[in-house]
């Protein structure tokens, strides 16, 4: 008789994107007809839903505009959230004012929702002297402490472990806050995910791990990231409860995030949420997805557009229509145009600024290097 494993490796069902939202394990609230499933309805007040909808539209138009600016060569780069807006803003809207966000790089919608100004964000896109990152990092690599929003860096996953440490520190100080840590499903392969999840489990930190499963890590599909049956189930390895939700369903995302935050705040420890969504755009303005994915897949997901689905809900409730939509888009367009116009006019950062903030005070070697640069000739071509 052969030994029976205490668990067998489930085939990776429901891992590949198109199958996602038909998975019975996945929390859904917003039905195709725009109505809400009462079972999991978070009972968001109508004003908030409307505010979120308007914000989603802003983010969508902003994405669109930034891609154009990049194509025009007016900004260097953009990495957007097309198709993932509900996952990003629904989760950001569900946390408390005391909670902190540890972003990946697609969450500008969350930063803006939390109070980062559109102008500050746009300044980062242009890397000018008023960019919160002082023009030191690429576009979409900004920071906003006032919004309790972390510092974005490129290395995948590093924010996960940091977000756990931050929550752990708050727990030590008995401060009532949790952290919401964003990352893509590809990041679950990084050492940071393992370290962050393991420490969070052992020390029961108030951390919500928010995994945006958008189907792809640049050109690598989910089946190449893991052989597990889902990303949420990885919590088992760390004693952390996991849950999957329809990431294009604002209400499901909101519900799962709010519950997980409440669980953490009550001392229950961390939760991992897998929001099943889809990256409708290329990975970034540097990427052409046609090289690796089928149009059919994109079509499937376009039909599940999170903004269209929310609009349908509002229309069903008679709270939205074309006229309102046009008015909103016109208003938002103007806002964005203004921010771009202002950002484009702001000076680049000063040469001196390149040597600041390496240390609290520049030591002798940085003073020397700065002075040498200042007295030398300037570079052309930038």
């Amino acid at each position: 008789m052969a030994v029976q494993p205490l668990h067998s490796s489930a085939p990776p069902v429901g891992l590949a994107s198109p199958a996602h939202t038909s998975d019975p394990d996945v929390v859904r609230v917003l039905r195709d007809d725009g109505s809400l499933d009462p079972a999991f309805d978070p009972h968001l007040d109508p004003e908030t839903v409307l505010a979120i909808y308007k914000h989603l539209v802003l983010v969508r138009l902003l994405d669109d505009r930034l891609v154009t600016l990049q194509r025009q060569g007016r900004i260097g780069f953009h990495i957007g959230s097309l198709g993932e807006e509900a996952a990003i803003i629904g989760s950001a809207a569900a946390v408390r004012a005391s909670d902190w966000l540890f972003p990946c790089y697609r969450e500008f919608g969350a930063a803006l929702w939390r109070g980062m100004s559109l102008q500050a964000y746009m300044n980062n896109m242009f890397g000018n002297s008023e960019d919160p990152a002082k023009g030191r990092q690429m576009p979409d690599h900004y920071t906003c402490r006032a919004a309790k929003f972390g510092s974005i860096s490129s290395p995948i996953g590093t924010q996960i472990t940091q977000g756990v440490g931050f929550a752990w520190a708050a727990k030590m100080r008995k401060d009532d806050l949790a952290t919401l840590v964003y990352f893509g499903e590809g990041a679950t392969s990084s050492a940071e995910f393992h370290n962050g999840m393991n420490f969070a489990g052992v020390f029961k930190t108030p951390t919500v791990f928010f995994c945006r499963n958008n189907g792809w890590a640049i050109s690598v599909p989910v089946e190449r990231q893991t052989a597990s049956s889902s990303f949420a189930i990885k919590g088992v390895a760390y004693g952390i409860p996991g849950i999957r939700c329809d990431g294009n369903d604002l209400f499901a995302v909101y519900k799962c995030t709010r519950d997980a935050i409440a669980h953490a705040a009550a001392g229950g420890g961390p939760t991992i949420i897998e929001a099943m969504t889809y990256r409708l755009s290329g990975h970034s303005t540097s990427d052409d997805p046609k090289a690796y994915r089928k149009e059919g897949e994109v079509e499937h997901w376009k039909k599940r557009d999170p903004i269209a689905r929310l609009r349908k809900h509002l229309e069903l409730e008679g709270r939205w229509d074309d006229a309102r939509q046009q008015a909103l888009e016109a208003e938002v367009d103007a806002k964005i145009k203004d921010a771009v116009a202002v950002a484009e006019k702001i000076q680049p950062p000063s040469l001196e600024s390149m040597f600041e903030d390496v240390f609290a005070e520049p030591p002798w070697h940085l003073q020397e290097q700065r002075d040498q640069l200042l007295k030398g000739p300037r570079a052309k071509g930038h």
């Binding site: 030191r136 690429m138 050109s219 690598v220 190449r224 990231q225 090289a291 390149m354 070697h365």
Partner: protein, 324 residues
């Protein structure tokens, strides 16, 4: 002879070696279907299949750790790290394991592989798509480090690196991936590891440089020439083991040297080159060796052209050194 850019030359070299030696396998993030974010591995997936051109999970530590295991088995993996800035999750496997395997096993377990990765700035990449970490690997005993400046050397050094018995860090200067073009022979040829190239002979100042900055050095040397300063330019091609003889021979002639690199100055490879010149040509030095390098700050975005040691920063160093 076909004209190629760096990307095409490296691609051609990979294809040639994979045809020649079935032990050669390519793995990394996005190297398969799309052929890499810089398209360096384009077409290899279709030609050799996903058993030899492997898209991996998002883990540099996993890529290098498993590649070492493949090497122990007898394959010759050529892992790609998408940007050198992202090599650090694999740093432990490289410095604690790969570099020490042959030594610590008394020669029983050589671990042969070639790690390909794009380095350098000038593509608006900011902190994490611009760095040049060569000195962090040169310091570690057991690694060879290569950085070609043109398509001919890129292919020739790649073939040599794949056939060399030791692990090789193969740094590709991404800023000139497509800008640097030239004749590249079809098929077989190698550029020896450990041999620099004197790309220009001169009497007054020796410039030691490699990778993308070679072209800045040449531009600066042209300017200097116009001002009566005649520079000898050495393109290292292999950073370690260093071709010390070529450098010392030149310094004995000129007595003056300027080292140029993109990496931050402090503990950059330039410091080692200066220290070695002191050891081997002290009495020949007529001016202090000068380093023109990136600054000791993270790599900036908007001001990257001020950060990089471009021609406009190299030139004054040449003139001052010549007239010291």
């Amino acid at each position: 002879m076909p004209q190629m850019n760096m990307v095409q030359a490296i691609n051609d070299g990979l294809r040639f070696e994979m045809k020649r030696d079935e032990r050669v396998v390519v793995l990394g993030e996005d190297v398969g279907k799309v052929g890499g974010v810089f398209r360096v591995t384009q077409g290899l997936f279709d030609e050799f299949g996903d058993d030899r051109v492997i898209d991996t999970p998002l883990s540099e530590g996993g890529i290098i750790g498993t590649a070492i295991g493949m090497a122990l088995y007898g394959l010759v993996p050529v892992p790609e790290i998408q940007f050198a800035d992202f090599i650090f999750p694999a740093y432990d496997q490289i410095v604690s394991e790969l570099a020490k395997f042959r030594y610590r096993s008394g020669g029983e377990y050589p671990a042969k592989l070639v790690i390909r990765t794009p380095v350098g700035g000038g593509i608006r990449g900011g902190h994490y798509h611009s760095q040049s970490p060569e000195s962090q690997f040169i310091h570690v005993a057991g690694l060879k480090v290569v950085c070609p400046s043109n398509p001919y050397d890129a292919k020739g050094l790649l073939l040599a690196s794949i056939r060399d018995p030791d692990p090789v860090m193969f740094f590709e200067p991404k800023r000139i991936y497509r800008a640097a073009k030239g004749d590249v022979p079809e098929g077989e040829y190698t550029v020896p590891i450990g041999k620099a190239a004197v790309v220009r002979e001169g009497q007054h100042v020796t410039i030691v440089v490699w990778g993308a900055m070679l072209y800045e050095a040449i531009a600066a040397a042209d300017e200097a020439k116009a001002q009566g300063v005649d520079c000898e330019i050495i393109d290292l091609r292999t950073l370690w083991p260093l071709d010390i003889d070529t450098i010392i021979e030149s310094v004995k002639k000129t007595g003056r040297v300027v080292v140029v690199h993109e990496a931050p100055k402090t503990c950059g490879f330039g410091s080692e080159i200066v220290a070695l010149i002191n050891e081997k040509a002290f009495l020949n030095l007529e001016a202090p060796p000068v380093r023109v390098t990136g600054f000791d700050t993270p790599f900036p975005y908007t001001l990257e052209m001020e950060y990089l040691p471009l021609a406009h920063r190299i030139l004054p160093a040449l003139i001052e050194t010549a007239h010291y």
